[in-house]
Structures are given as structure tokens and as C-alpha cells.
Symmetry: C2
Subunit: 578 residues, 2 copies
């Protein structure tokens, strides 16, 4: 037996296997996942495993390594989030998201930091040795909402798109603020004196970290798109480039102390449309499914490790500090959301309702990022107290808030996500309005969001597409693209329905079978009927009858294609009459 | 700048990126890959890179780590090979393959070892300090044909299926022999005296290593199939299990000093049919494409690393030893193939022609496995000589044999792989013959391959399928399965053709368009027409007209489905008349 030799890959594989089997286990009993969020269950599994390890070895189980978390577990989740980010609601609400992410996070950091410092002044609590800087450092790591935790909970409760993107976008973009403040306070802790110039440098650094991340991400994203121009002869490695370039963008950003999360999100959002146009359909399926699979596994591992790392002797328990941390986290978040939303609502027609505000405040879950950051703190005598407080806050938000948010959403009747895809009519309408608003903004001289979007779209089709796309045609009308997509989807659906059905359908009835199949199988989703009607209308109008010459010509023999054309015509008319 | 922090993943990503870009580079110029095999070009890139590193640092570039090779680079390639192994030709020729792999490899090991020992006795060569055991040890690592090198070359020359499986199967299965002999001689080298009992233990060990690998592989494979029974609600992690279980089988086998290659191949072949039936179509696409992608990257990395590792000061040059090694490798392989094929041909009707024998002997390429094994040798004073000889043999076989094998195949007019898939008629015929032969073998009391295949198939459908498959129906007739597959393929083809075509086709003509499309686009592949005809025949015979009751009934209103049924009937007749 030579365990040493295979230990590293063997243990990694076993952990992933455990995570996957845990996931399967939960989904075997349908009741469980509908009551408790998966994240809670996974932490619970982790706690049990940590307990077992602790019991067997009589020493603390291994703590989740911060390096492993930041280098290997976090990137897949953020990549997945960025790649599948609904770009329209994201950019429509980018101002609000940035306000929450930047101002909101700074508000929370200083609010929590100063009020905890106030608590530390109470003699009875025996916390006088925790300095203001240490409290602010602790505030900087505990204030940030965690994208992994938010995603895990919000994916299951299906709130409306705007609410979702506000919480989720904030949790992603606050990384830049967290990185800057955390590193700033950490270096202040080690400096003997702090000059005011350092404070200003910190403010400037925030722009460098955030915008630098965007620049790194976009440049890698466009390079990825450019690379996939040349993979036509070697389809098999196409999916690789999506992963390689986005990971490189993350690592490069981390290397230069920029925000890796912002970089990987910009990279994914920047490359998506070009890469998808360049690579084959099967490569695209592979990219999508593999990304989902990977992020799902990472997510599972993170929550299990969180549970395992909680067990052990890393904690210093101080009731007042820990309780007040939880309370301040809740209070400052709620206050921040209220104040910021007040300003946001003054400038927007489509306001954020008070129900939505409550869910935004309540959805501020903390997770593995805080946990990894607190372990990265330099050693000082109260580190274990901070670890204990962070653990409690995470467990409190994930368990209490995570488990009650779904009933609350039901109770408050928060507007849900619309289940159906937008109809063709709606899409055309939206597109029309976009152009109209861009025109109005241009005329009125107000350079708003529609104006910039229009300019960007122009720049894209004028320059970017020519460089980054392999087959650069004139941009197709989006209605034709939609029709093609519907046709393709329909054909695959048909084939699968035929496969699952009782007997094979006659191929010549693929099309007439369609209505039957959709009526029978997809009755519950109304959007399908609508799509189907639209498809038929489109088909009727987009079908170009190729017979342009006269029906009979003395000088030319009827070509080979003529009879089939005519047969088509006849069948078309008959089909219509049916 | 904090490079230390991200160094490991950053460098790994960069290496993979380099490999992928090199691959794209070759395929940009169509001339290059058609003359030189990709493996040669990659080694060449590696040599250049090694030269650059050597020139810049003035010390030997890093050598490919044997652990990295065996633990991370080899498994994906072998998994891919096992998963896509054409099982019918493999099992039909399993006897011949095993003969080549076991007896042939032993023959080569002892042939090369003893004759090199003879060379060492010549005083003029100054090699008298190389003992017989060391020569045998060297023989054991240099004798084995390398699956990675064989795959890289044979994939491009398209010889007939039997020839391909003979060489490729041998290269995979000889791993068990290599592992045993290499470890045996290595331990003999360190032992003071060798008892005869040790030799017999070595012979027994061979069976343990080979059969143990099969047992480990099959048990993991069946566990994987069993696991995928329960992934219905969580499709996203399905592909993971294929990779996790096969990797675990490899690691477990390595841990117990069994043959990891044999284990992973058994695992992949064992799980394939059950996993494919259990997982969704998209998961299956992901598995297939990701496996291909991964093995392709591993393969590229291996050849580049081979090139890089060649440069440096690890070599001790001794002309006679190195030249005779190359010559003996060629001679003993040729002799072995001749002798073994002579015996094989005596017992088979379908003999191996002398042209095929030449290609089998000539296709015995050496590759990265020898290279890694020679670096794993315990340090002794002539290790650098062995490294030099191994490097030369690998470069000679990959460059000289690899580059000339394609012209030779053309020159000898070796029977090529048939380009078209077997027609339905052929498939039915083959199936019929299988049953017939199984019956004949049963009656005649000769328990041959068909008898066992039949028994295995019975066992499979009686027990295994019930345990391992989620939806266990009565086994469908393979003709119905084929029809379903054709329908599905056809629908996807149609949608893609419609998407690429000039204008969208009317959906009601999906089916009548089909013949037009296939005529226009797929004219060059005759099998498509055949398949198409078959599909039509199948469709006509398998279409079940559901109208079983009388056309008019006083007591029942015509159901909703009736008019569409009748419309179908009418359209069917009209379609036929057209």
C-alpha cells in the first residue's frame, strides 16, 4: 500500500465525491430542499464531519485554507455568476448596484467598526484592549455581503429580477471595496503612525482596484474572443479557452492586488457574446454545463468546509462582543439600505418598494469570504475572538436569515420572477423603445443610459465584431435570429419528444405533430403556446417563395428543383387549409 | 506585485495555454499537420522552449515530474481511450491483443536486456560495469509500446480497425507487464541475493496486477453507474461522476501497486453503457466533449514537456550503447511480431497479413511512459546513460517512425478504415450472425467468444441492468433504438442546416425539405443516402396508426385528437403520392 504517493489527488477527489454525494442525498427526499436551503444542509454536514474528525483525532479538524478558497474554489463560482449574469437588468440598475456596493459597504464598515469600538469601551465587557483600528479591520471583513451565500439562497426563492440583481450585483461588486479597506486597515495596524496622505492614497486606491479589475478582465475577455476566431479546425479545445482566459484574468488581478472578482466578471461578460458566436454549438453546451457543474461543486465544497472549520479550538468566546456584532450587522445594513434607497428612489421613476427594501436588507448574508479573510489576519491576541464572532455571524445569517427568507417572501407577497420568457411582441416593443429613448436622449442632449448603450452597440458592430468574430456577416435582424433559435429549439424538442413517446412518429409529420406535442406536453407553460404562434407567424412571413420567374418558359426546361418547389407550394396551401 | 501567491495555478494555466495555442498554430496552416504528426511538432516546440530556458538560465530546464505525469497527465488520456474504445473489435481480438501485450512485451524485455548485456561485454565499449540486472531493468522500461504516442500517430493515419485495435490495445494492456517487470527488476537490483522463490512470486504478481486492475476498475465503474441512477433531480453534477469514479479507480489501483491503466480502462468500459442510459443527453455531450478536450490537452502537454526535458545535462553519451539500443528495439519487436503472428494465424481464419504485421512492428512507438520510468530509477552511476538511450529511442520512434509510417501505409496500400458507418442491413446481419454463432457454439459444445458474449448479454439484461439503470424498461429492439437515434440526429441536422441556410424554411416543410437538404449538402457521403432510405423504410413500418376503433361511433363524440389523427392520415397519403 503506497498511500503517500497518491494522497493529494486522492483526498481532493474524495472531498469532491463526498460533496457530490451529499448533494444527491438531499435531492432524494423532495421535502428537505423545499424547506431548508441547500447551504444550511451542507454546513450541517460539514459540522457533523468536523465533529467526527475532532472526536477521532482529538484535535481541531483542518481549517479551510484561505489560499485554496481564493485560488481554486471562488473563481468557478464567480465565473459562472458573471457568465450567466442577465446583462440587461444589471446595466439598467448599475447605478443603484454601485451605490449599494460602494457607499453601502463603506457605511457598514465604519458603522460596525465604530459602534463595536463603543462597546469595547464598556469596562464590564473586558474588551478595552481591542483598538479602534482592529475594530475597523474587523468591520471591513464582516461588512461585505457574500456572493456565494446570496446566490445559494436567492436561487431558490425566485424573487423578481430587479431585486435579485440588486442584492447579487452588490455582493459581487463590493469585493473591490472590501479588498481596499481590508488591506488598508491591515497595513494601518502594522504601521506605527498613520499620515493623512495614507488615507487619501486609500481612497485613490479604491478606483485603481475596481477599474483596474475591469480593465484586466475586459482585456482578457477580448483576447479570449479573438483566440476563438482561430479554433475552427480544432473544435475540441474551444471550451478550454473560456476557462483559461477567465482564470488568468482572475489570477492576474490578484497578482497586482486588484479585485479578482471584478476582473473575472468583466472578462466573462466581455467575452460571452463573441465567444458564443465563434465556437460550435456543442462546445457551447460543454462550456455552459461544465461551468454550472464546476461552480456547483465549488459551492458545495465551500459550505461543507465552512461547517468543518467551525468545529475546533480556534474560538474565544465573549458574549457581549459576539452578540453586538450580530446586532450591529443587522442594524447598520438595514439603516444603510433605507438611507441609500431613499436617495435612489428620488431619482428613479421605477422605485424600490419598502417590501423590496426589507428583502435587500434581510438578504445581506455573510459567507466564506469573511471566513477566509478572518483567518488571513495577522496574529494578534484577539484573533480568536474575531474568528468566533465571524463564525457566529455567518451561521446566524445563513441559518436564521437563509431559512426564514423564503417564508417572509411568501408572507410579504414580494413580486416574484415572471416564469415565462418575454414574448416576441414584448421583445420587439422593448427594442423599439430602446431606440426611441436613445433618440430622445440624443435630441434632448441628456446623455443617459440609452444614449450610451446605443453608442456602445454602434462601436461594437462597427469595430469589435469585425475583429473578434470569425464569420462577420452583416448583423442579422434580431427577429431572424430569434426565428432561427426557435426553429432549432423546436427541432431538438421534437426529436426528444419523439424519443420519449410511445411509438416513433412518421418523419413527414414532424411538423404537424408539433401542435399535438406542445398541446399535450407543454400545456402548463403558457409561454410555449405564445412562442409557437409567433413561430408560425414568423415562418409564414419569412418564408421566401423562390419562384420569381414565370411559371412556364418556352426557352428553359424546368430545373430539378422546380418540382420540389411546386410540391412545397401545394403542401403549404394544403397545410394552411387544414 | 505578489507573484508568489498565485504562482502555482498561474504557471499551470500558462502551460496549458501555451499548449493550446501551439495546437491552434499548427492547424492554421493546413499543410503542416498533413505532413508531420502533431506529436513531432509538439516535441519540436518543447525542444525550442527547453533551449530558450537553458540559454536564459544557463542550467537544465525543469524535467517533467514523474508524479505529475502519472497522477495528472496520463489518466485523462487513458480514460478517453477506454471510454471511446470500440468494444466489438477489442473483444473480438482480445486473445491476440493479450498475446502481444503479455508474451510480446516479456519477449522484448528479455531480448533487449540480454542482447544489450552482450554488448556490454565488448571491452572496447567500456560498458562492463553495467550488470545484467541493470540491462534487464532498462529493457523492462524501454520495451513497452506507449499508448499516448501510438494514439497520436495512429489517429492520423486511419488504418483499418483491426490493425488499429491490435497496436493500440497492446499499448494499453502491456502496462500490467511493464509495472510488474519494472518493479521486480528494481527490487532485484536492491536485493543482495535473488532466490528462485522471488522469481515465481514475480510471475504470480503479474496476474494479481492485471486482474486486480480489472476488478478495481469494474467495481468503480459499476458504482458509478449505480450512482447516476439517483441524479435525476440534479442533472448539473452528472458528468462529474464519470470523471470522479474513473479517476478514483486509477488512484486506488496505483495505491495498491496494481495497473492503473488497466483499472481506468475497465472502469470506463464497464460504466459507459449504463451511465449513458442514465444521464441526460446534454450531460452526455458534456462528458464526451470534456473528455476529448482534457485528453487532448494532456497529450499536448506531455509532448511539449518531453521536448523541454530532453534539453539539459542529464545525458551521458555512449555511442555503441545508444545505437544498439535503437537497433535491438527494432529487431526484437519485429521478431516478436513475426513469431507471435505465426501462432495467431494458425488458429484464426481471418489472418493478419504480412503488410499488417509490418505496420504492427513499425508502429511500436515509445513515449512518455518510458521517459517517466527512467527518471524514477534509483540513482546509480549509469543512470544518465539510460536517460540518454531512452531519449534517443523515443525521439527516433516518434520522429523517424512516426513521420514515415503514413507514407509507408500509402505505399504498401494497407487496408484503410472504412469511412462510412455500417448500414442498417449490415447491422441486422451482424446481429443475426452473432445469435446464430452463439447457437452453433452452444450445440457443438465449443464455448467460444460468441457463447460467452451471449451469456454475458443475458446476465446483463437479467441482473445488471435492473440494478444499474434508472428507467429499466424491457430492452427495446435495437432496430427501434436505431430508428430513434436516426430521428434525433436528423432533427438536429435539419435545425442546423436551416440555421446555416439562406432563408428559414417553413416548419411544415421540415420533413419534405429533408431530402433536398441531404441531396444538396451531404452528397459526398454515400452512407447518408443509405441511412436516409433506411429511415424512411423504418418510419413507414414502425408508424403505428392509432385509429383502432371504428371511424364512426354513435355513443362517443369524436375526441380532440381525432381530427389531427385524421389530418395526419390524409397528409400521409398525400405525401406518399408526391
Amino acid at each position: 500500500l503506497d498511500y503517500q504517493h497518491v494522497q493529494v489527488p486522492f483526498e481532493i477527489t474524495l472531498w469532491i465525491m463526498l460533496a457530490s454525494l451529499a448533494k444527491i442525498g438531499f435531492h432524494l427526499y423532495n421535502k428537505l430542499p423545499s424547506v431548508v436551503p441547500e447551504s444550511c444542509l451542507l454546513i450541517f454536514v460539514g459540522l457533523i464531519m468536523g465533529g467526527i474528525i475532532y472526536g477521532l483525532n482529538d484535535r481541531s479538524p483542518p481549517v479551510m485554507d484561505s489560499d485554496i478558497f481564493f485560488l481554486y474554489l471562488l473563481p468557478p463560482i464567480v465565473l459562472d455568476a458573471g457568465y450567466f449574469m442577465p446583462s440587461r437588468p444589471f446595466f439598467e440598475n448599475i447605478g443603484t448596484i454601485l451605490l449599494y456596493a460602494v457607499v453601502g459597504t463603506i457605511w457598514n464598515v465604519f458603522g460596525i467598526g465604530f459602534s463595536l469600538y463603543g462597546i469595547c469601551q464598556v469596562k464590564a465587557f473586558r474588551l478595552q484592549d481591542v483598538s479602534l483600528l482592529h475594530n475597523l479591520l474587523f468591520g471591513s471583513l464582516i461588512a461585505a455581503v457574500d456572493p456565494v451565500a446570496v446566490l445559494a439562497v436567492f436561487e431558490e426563492i425566485h424573487v423578481n429580477e430587479k431585486l435579485h440583481i440588486l442584492v447579487f450585483g452588490e455582493s459581487l461588486l463590493n469585493d473591490a471595496v472590501t479588498v481596499v479597506l481590508y488591506k488598508l486597515f491591515r497595513s494601518f495596524c502594522e504601521m506605527p503612525t498613520i499620515k493623512s496622505v495614507d488615507v487619501f492614497a486609500g481612497v485613490g486606491k479604491f478606483f485603481v482596484v475596481g477599474l483596474g479589475g475591469v480593465v484586466v478582465g475586459l482585456s482578457f475577455g477580448f483576447t479570449a474572443a479573438f483566440t476563438t476566431r482561430f479554433t475552427k479546425d480544432i473544435r475540441v479545445i474551444e471550451p478550454l479557452f473560456v476557462f483559461l482566459y477567465s482564470y488568468l484574468s482572475y489570477l492576474t488581478a490578484e497578482m497586482f492586488h486588484l479585485s479578482g472578482i471584478v476582473a473575472i466578471i468583466s472578462c466573462a461578460m466581455g467575452m460571452k457574446r463573441y465567444v458564443e458566436a465563434n465556437i460550435s454549438l456543442k462546445s457551447h453546451t460543454t462550456v455552459k454545463y461544465f461551468m454550472k457543474m464546476w461552480s456547483s461543486v465549488s459551492d458545495t465544497l465551500i459550505f461543507i468546509f465552512l461547517g468543518v472549520s467551525t468545529i475546533g479550538e480556534n474560538h474565544e468566546w465573549n458574549w457581549p462582543y459576539i452578540c453586538f456584532t450580530v446586532i450591529f450587522c443587522l442594524i447598520w445594513r438595514a439603516l444603510g439600505v433605507l438611507v441609500l434607497t431613499f436617495f435612489v428612489n428620488r431619482f428613479h421613476v421605477n422605485t424600490i418598494t419598502s417590501k423590496d427594501q426589507f428583502i435587500i436588507a434581510y438578504g445581506g448574508l455573510r459567507g466564506a469570504i469573511c471566513f477566509s479573510l478572518v483567518f488571513l489576519l495577522p496574529d494578534f491576541h484577539r484573533k480568536k475572538l474575531f474568528i468566533a464572532a465571524t463564525t457566529v455571524v455567518i451561521l446566524f445569517t445563513v441559518f436564521v436569515q437563509g431559512m426564514t427568507i423564503r417564508p417572509l417572501v411568501d408572507l410579504l407577497a414580494v413580486k416574484r420572477k415572471r416564469e415565462s420568457a418575454p414574448t416576441v411582441g414584448e421583445q420587439i416593443h422593448i427594442r423599439f423603445l430602446d431606440h426611441l429613448l436613445a433618440g430622445i436622449e440624443d435630441i434632448s442632449g441628456h446623455w443617459g443610459q440609452y444614449y450610451w448603450k446605443d453608442k456602445l452597440e454602434y462601436f461594437n458592430s462597427k469595430y469589435l465584431q469585425k475583429i473578434l468574430l470569425r464569420e462577420y456577416d452583416q448583423p442579422k435582424s434580431s427577429i431572424v435570429l430569434l426565428y432561427e433559435k426557435l426553429e432549432r429549439k423546436h427541432a431538438i424538442e421534437l426529436a426528444q419528444a419523439g424519443q420519449l413517446g410511445h411509438g416513433p412518429a412518421h418523419p413527414s409529420f414532424l411538423s404537424s405533430d408539433r401542435t399535438v406535442i406542445t398541446d399535450q406536453k407543454l400545456e402548463d407553460t403558457p409561454s410555449h403556446d405564445v412562442l409557437d404562434n409567433m413561430q408560425e407567424i414568423l415562418a409564414r412571413n419569412l418564408y421566401r417563395i423562390r419562384r420569381t420567374g414565370p411559371a412556364y418558359n418556352r426557352h428553359t426546361l424546368p430545373g430539378d428543383s422546380e418540382p420540389t418547389e411546386r410540391a412545397k407550394e401545394i403542401l403549404l396551401l394544403r397545410h394552411k387549409s387544414l
